[in-house]
Symmetry: C2
Subunit: 376 residues, 2 copies
């Protein structure tokens, strides 16, 4: 194999592959990246950690087709340090060694035969995937960022570790919940074919998708699924992951419709006050007690081991009757830090009811947080 | 106790104390910082981890004198997040609680009685220290940075963990060695009293001294010692540490005087080539083989598990006979990254002799690295 490639182009793609490659070392070859040069002047990189796999393609000047696998961390370290923009890459399928040359720097790196690399997915397999829809990447990534934080990280392989995605004629809807909070996004989209699509995608897969898509040129992603698996395709680049099977909770049923007490507050001021307050919360419990009064919100933390704190934020709230409610401080901060609007809207109901938190300036996003029952 | 203080001034000083305070938790009170307000309108902060202690003083408006100790990490986290520049600090010696107020934010933090805090050093004790000299802080810090990296980090409490400091009529000389390399600095100083001073100071103490001095206004540091202890004093601020007793090796005897083969090379180009090369070295051994030829230096690494690398750097070297020599790649990089000159000067002798590395543009700094014996 021999090809010439631009350093930065190669490195960008290699880093996506490197991030997926396994470091756990159950199968040594999975810590390698698979590199193939085709006679169609394409470089194909493959990488997998058994949960997620990627197949990435770059155009390049291929002199001799061939393939090899190389340690992905070490390769990406070497490429990043090369002195010149142009990199010559040669390898031999007899010795399983690769020679990397740039300016006066030469590296010879030992690899493993590409024949030993597991098949990530074959062309025929891809064809067996059904239900493909096409989404614009930008609103999809936006929706990922607005939901993924609410998925559970403690469960394992349960539907709570996933983000629910549902596409219909006009909207992309995504939601995540860990049982104590819910995040939801409804984006209007163009879906001319009007196909309906539903899946539960592991939150880690979606986080990796953001990285994957940043390395692909292309404005649309095609999503395909079959039993237990999901494929994202941007141009010729493929990311495959397991999906989570099961019935996603009917989260819309728990969104209250009669939260009639409305609070408007500066997002930044509330973040700052919660952040200060969070210094004093008891670890794991994270309880902050909020009292919404006329034009003023007070934040109180009592930590029997450490001490207590008391803070105030100006709010727009016209009710005469104060509302007292306790929340997980971290959950509030997660929501507020993901929103971008200057002001946020909190919709409350007195007594232990879930609170709704929305950006003041758009109706696409919604977060729900369950209150915490505390002794007065 | 009650005082009013500027947030940033308090925080800067608190962070120095926090960094010294112990996190190991052998004595819980050592993870606290001692805070005292005096009727002379001074705030005194004390902190210690038993190896190193600091006493720091800040001017402030003291309403009621008093003292307390508070968890240093938590306190510094809280102060850093306060909303206003002005901080009111109150505490009670009955409840051992401190109240911190800034704008509408109030924190009440539980502490431990200041009476339980160990004495770091008393005024009388300070007077028992002898041999005090006064140094300008800037050249002293420079000399620390140019030497401290060569001290051993693997030994424990041996002279190799320390930096040797020697002051005479006209010069400050500092040196560190771990047995395989040596760093040395000779700075010209003004030492009007002509006092002679020698000590071996743990490298960690010197690293903390840099942080300590950054928080003190003042251009001079007074250094005092007695058996096993050393004090640094900048104005009213004190840092005390154990010193290392023993006979420091006569390092000047190992500096060769007949290294007559002179190489001049761009520091940056050599750093880049060594950095690339370092990707391929065997861990722990770090061996890079250098061949100095007429106007060209080649860098070779053979790593039986990973592969090999080959790099070249232009040098000024006029000898016809090449010199082959192997070094610890990391040791070379440590020296080059600490120097600041554009070009460096390497002084060599053929066969297994130590190499001398100096900045081309000044004679104050010298580094010596022992070659590594390898099979050809």
């Amino acid at each position: 194999m021999e090809f010439i490639i631009q350093k930065d182009l190669f490195l960008n793609t290699l880093r996506i592959a490197e991030h997926i490659s396994s470091t756990k070392g159950i199968q040594i070859i999975l810590s390698n990246v698979y590199i193939e040069a085709t006679k169609e002047n394409e470089i194909i990189l493959k990488s997998s950690d058994l949960d997620i796999g990627v197949i990435l393609k770059i155009k390049s000047e291929v002199k001799t087709p061939g393939k090899i696998t190389l340690p992905s961390k070490k390769l990406s370290e070497i490429i990043s340090k090369l002195p010149k923009d142009e990199v010559t890459f040669e390898s031999s399928e007899e010795t399983n060694k690769a020679k990397i040359t740039s300016g006066r720097s030469k590296f010879e790196l030992m690899g493993i035969s590409a024949l030993e690399y597991p098949v990530i997915i074959s062309e025929e397999d891809i064809e067996s995937f059904k239900n493909n829809i096409s989404l614009e990447i930008k609103p999809f990534i936006n929706a990922i960022k607005q939901t993924v934080y609410a998925a559970s990280t403690t469960e394992n392989n349960s539907i709570y570790n996933g983000v629910f995605i549902s596409v219909n004629e006009k909207t992309l809807e995504m939601a995540a919940t860990d049982g104590a909070r819910l995040s939801m996004v409804i984006e209007e989209i163009e879906n001319k074919e009007g196909k309906i699509f539903e899946a539960i995608i592991p939150s880690r897969t979606l986080a990796e998708f953001i990285r994957f898509s940043s390395g692909c040129t292309g404005e649309k992603v095609e999503i395909m699924k079959k039993e237990g698996q999901i494929i994202f395709k941007i141009n010729e680049n493929i990311m495959i992951s397991r999906s989570i099977e099961g019935q996603y909770p009917k989260y819309k049923q728990i969104i209250p419709k009669d939260n009639e007490k409305i609070v408007i507050v500066s997002r930044e001021e509330l973040i700052n006050a919660l952040d200060r307050t969070s210094s004093m919360v008891e670890e794991k419990k994270n309880v902050v007690k909020l009292t919404f009064e006329k034009n003023q919100l007070s934040l109180v933390v009592d930590n029997p081991e450490l001490g207590d704190s008391n803070d105030f934020v100006d709010i727009e709230f016209e009710e005469e009757e104060p509302i007292k409610i306790a929340f997980n401080c971290k959950y509030l901060l997660d929501v507020l830090r993901n929103y971008e609007s200057e002001k946020i809207r909190i919709e409350l109901k007195p007594k232990l009811a879930p609170a709704l938190i929305k950006p003041e300036d758009n109706k696409k996003y919604l977060a729900l947080i369950m209150p915490i029952q505390i002794k007065e």
